[in-house]
């Protein structure tokens, strides 16, 4: 029986700048993972980085403006998986922020400030 090729997973995802749109990212990454045999750990890391980058762009970059768009593009270059996130929000480089010090105790931890650790 001839093999039926899987439908080509789109290499470009366009999202409206609303947090609810992020639910579309995971199935898109899963489709690409299937099409390109990406291992589960790679998928996990991709989903983690994209969730951080996209939610930061929506919440902070666009300051909650729901009328903007974000684009995620996927490329596979000589075995390297590359995702490019494009937005029109003001520039922000998380690597220039001082590394938040690890909280010594649970009481001193500021909830929600851990995203930059995860992207790094």
């Amino acid at each position: 029986m001839p093999e039926i090729p899987a439908p080509a997973a789109s290499r470009r995802l366009v999202l409206a700048s609303r947090l609810e749109e992020l639910a579309r990212v995971f199935p898109w990454v899963e489709a690409l993972a299937c099409a390109h045999a990406l291992p589960p750990e790679t998928c996990f890391a991709i989903n983690l980085c994209l969730e951080e980058a996209l939610s930061n762009a929506i919440r902070h970059g666009y300051a909650g403006d729901a009328g903007q768009t974000l684009t995620v593009e996927f490329a596979l270059n000589s075995g390297q998986v590359v995702f490019v996130v494009e937005d029109a929000a003001p520039p922000f480089d998380p690597l220039t922020r001082a590394e938040p010090a690890a909280a010594p105790t649970l009481d001193e931890l500021i909830p929600g400030g851990q995203g930059i650790h995860l992207i790094r």
Binding site: L19, E20, L22, A23, F26, P40, E41, F44, N47, L48, E51, E52, S55, A102, A103, P104, T105, L106, D107, L109, P111, G112, Q114, G115, H117, L118, R120
Partner: protein, 111 residues
């Protein structure tokens, strides 16, 4: 994301999470987690069936954990899968909320 609660021996509350703790998942459990944290003094958070954890998901665990601690209680994270545990470690949460893979050790940590 599904959240269920059970009472174990010794007054320990077992909270079982199932699914992806992404932004949507975190929003789905936030209210219930905070309600549970308002009354439970010893909480075993069963993470065995959680397949993903992002920073909003972390927050939905850390905030209730802080509330329990302020009231003199304890929360233990039980048996996360390796990639989920990596997220706790990357955020240095593992040094302030105990993670145990062995149930006896988890229960002992809650005494």
């Amino acid at each position: 994301m599904k959240i269920t609660t059970d009472t174990m021996e010794g007054g320990i509350t077992q909270v079982t999470l199932e699914g992806r703790l992404d932004i949507e998942g975190a929003a789905a459990i936030d209210l219930k987690m905070n309600v549970i944290a308002g009354s439970a003094s010893r909480l075993l958070l069963d993470m065995r069936q959680v397949s993903f954890l992002g920073s909003m998901g972390l927050r939905s665990i850390v905030v209730p954990a802080q509330a329990i601690k302020r009231r003199g209680g304890k929360l233990v994270i039980f048996d996360p899968v390796p990639m989920v545990e990596e997220v706790f470690k990357a955020a240095n949460i593992d040094s302030i909320i105990p993670i145990h893979h062995d149930l006896d050790a988890a229960l002992a940590a809650l005494k």
